[in-house]
């Protein structure tokens, strides 16, 4: 065994988690394709045809990055939480706890797999959107960087929820009551500048605003907030999640008696 990293363990966890995705292709691939198509039909064509342009971009094209974010955020949280909650629920967590793995390796395995799924999902939605809308990506590398960073960050956040939750209700509570509203209010469907001045200020308290804004910038070069601020906020949120996870493993919070 490698003294510094149990690479075999990371690979084992990663493969195990990815296998779950391929076992449920309907849920992992068909569902996002269908829901994205519905969004474009309803918002892009039906409603969007009455909205001229947002910040010089057709409304349908403006929607694309926001829609990707919306799905990636919710899926990341749910995948990240499910991956670690499931073994806790079934009792198979004993094996991970008794294995010669460090918390970092466990996190890389679980969160790495969850984030991979999110990135794949983002790519699927992007491809589906291309069927309905004509758009280009100005900064493709930045788009990928934002997608990966945001996926990892929200999978980490999901991982925290998965450890914290001790029932199915708690597991779905945070995504339902916090993540989805924040994602909807985070400028997925509109530009913050379309809001009244007071709400613009309140909106800036929503972390999702920074993510959507940064991601949209990588597509069209326009953003609600400065890109550097977007990047900084994403990294900050990621570090906060890592900090909480580090503390959870250190104290054995809800993992070890």
């Amino acid at each position: 065994m490698n003294v510094f990293m149990n690479v075999h363990a990371i690979r084992a966890i990663y493969r195990f988690e990815m296998a779950r995705m391929w076992r449920t292709p309907t849920q992992s691939i068909a569902a996002p394709v269908i829901s994205t198509s519905l969004y474009f039909i309803v918002f892009g064509s039906a409603i969007g045809s009455r909205i001229a342009e947002v910040e010089g971009i057709s409304y349908a094209a403006f929607l694309v990055p926001g829609l990707i974010m919306l799905s990636v955020l919710t899926e990341s949280v749910s995948n990240g939480s499910f991956g670690i909650y499931m073994p806790k629920y079934s009792g198979t967590i004993y094996e991970v706890l008794s294995a010669p793995v460090s918390p970092l390796e466990v996190v890389i395995g679980y969160v790495g797999a969850a984030a991979t799924k999110s990135v794949i999902l983002g790519a699927i939605i992007l491809a589906t959107a291309r069927v309905f809308v004509d758009f280009g990506i100005q900064h493709p590398l930045w788009a990928l960087a934002f997608l990966v960073l945001i996926s990892v960050t929200f999978c980490l956040f999901g991982f925290i929820i998965g450890i914290w939750a001790d029932g199915w209700e708690k597991l779905s509570m945070v995504p339902m009551l916090i993540v989805t509203p924040l994602a909807f209010l985070g400028g997925s469907f509109y530009s913050i500048s379309m809001l009244p001045p007071l709400w613009q200020k309140i909106a800036l308290l929503n972390p999702v605003v920074y993510l959507v804004s940064g991601f949209r910038w990588s597509f069209y070069g326009v953003s609600d907030v400065n890109v550097a601020v977007s990047l900084g906020m994403t990294l900050l949120f990621m570090l906060a999640c890592l900090g909480v996870i580090w503390w959870m493993f250190r104290t054995g919070y809800k993992l070890k008696a």
Partner: protein, 318 residues
């Protein structure tokens, strides 16, 4: 299976050394009160104790699932906290509860276990493990489709997937039918022949009697006794001869004062206790003397105290 890099000294050390181990749960419940225990390399050690005695807590600490409150544990010479990687890669655990993934196949789950414990792929070894446990035919089956007995064997296969030197079996034969239990015992013997140290908890005394080299008894978080099984049986395994008398006695006749006799059943029976290991049991002499004294008996029987009785008396006396 031994790591050639480890020193000869380490090879001679006890495989597991537990010193002053305590565990107090957040609820305030003190599950372990200063456990000292040494397990020898290659032995089968049975840890006996009533429910709630601390068996599972002890195992869980050694395996890294529960954090100890104080004390140290060395596995193969490695501290289980400081050198957790080295220590844990030596240990395999089969927990009491049947906890398996539902949708995974048998093959995938053992492959996962091996990787998780840091070992490179070795299909030939895993095939052997599955064959030994009669699971090879089921390698492609989803675990949820297997019977309870098979699931339990899958858990053993998972625990063996990384070639551990120490195997913990927490109540391995609880709720398992007779045939499967025999099979498990054969498997344990096979593992011991290959040099694997086995620590099993059980409350089937029969199992300890059948399998163990040494027996430890734990009660209310304390090790009450650790003894070689044969010594234990010898030391405490006394026999009793009960003579049912024709006519009751008021007291033991003074002529028999030198014999370890007791009156029982209101004077209707005489109980003679003797040690099976001694050259002469003294039974013949006793019967002769009873004859001389004119004490007639209508029936007699001998009983041997089992590990179960020893165990019950130990736990009760505390």
């Amino acid at each position: 299976m031994h790591d050639p890099g480890r020193s000869a000294e380490a090879q001679g050390q006890p495989i597991l050394s537990i010193r002053g181990l305590t565990k107090t749960y957040a609820s305030g419940f003190q599950a372990l009160k200063g456990i000292d225990l040494t397990i020898r390399r290659g032995e089968i050690f049975a840890l006996l104790g009533p429910n709630g005695a601390g068996k599972t807590t002890l195992i869980s600490i050694v395996c890294g699932i529960v954090t100890p409150t104080s004390g140290t544990v060395l596995a193969g010479g490695y501290d289980i906290v400081r050198d957790y990687r080295a220590a844990r890669s030596l240990i395999g655990l089969v927990p009491q509860e049947l906890a398996t993934d539902m949708f995974e196949t048998v093959w995938d789950t053992v492959t996962f276990s091996r990787g998780l414990f840091g070992k490179p792929r070795d299909p030939a070894y895993l095939e052997k493990v599955l064959r030994d446990l009669s699971l090879w035919d089921k390698r492609g089956s989803k675990i949820m489709t297997l019977s309870g007995g098979m699931k339990r064997r899958v858990m053993i296969a998972k625990a063996l997937a990384h070639e551990p030197e120490i195997l913990f079996l927490d109540e391995p034969t609880a709720g398992v039918d007779v045939e499967l239990r025999r099979g498990m015992w054969d498997m344990m013997r096979g593992l011991r022949e290959r040099g694997v140290t086995i620590i099993l908890t059980t409350h089937y005394i029969e199992e300890a009697e059948e399998m163990a080299d040494r027996v430890g008894v734990i009660n209310r978080g304390e090790i009450v006794l650790v003894e070689d099984k044969r010594t234990l049986m010898r030391k405490l395994g006394r026999r009793q001869l009960t003579l049912h008398l024709q006519s009751p006695l008021e007291a033991i006749p003074p002529a028999l004062a030198d014999v370890p006799l007791e009156l029982a059943e209101g004077g209707h029976a005489l109980v003679y206790t003797f040690d099976v290991q001694q050259e002469s049991t003294g039974i013949a002499a006793l019967l002769r003397r009873l004859n001389e004294l004119g004490i007639d008996f209508k029936d007699l029987q001998t009983t041997e105290s089992s590990l179960e009785e020893i165990f019950v008396s130990l736990v009760r006396s505390r």
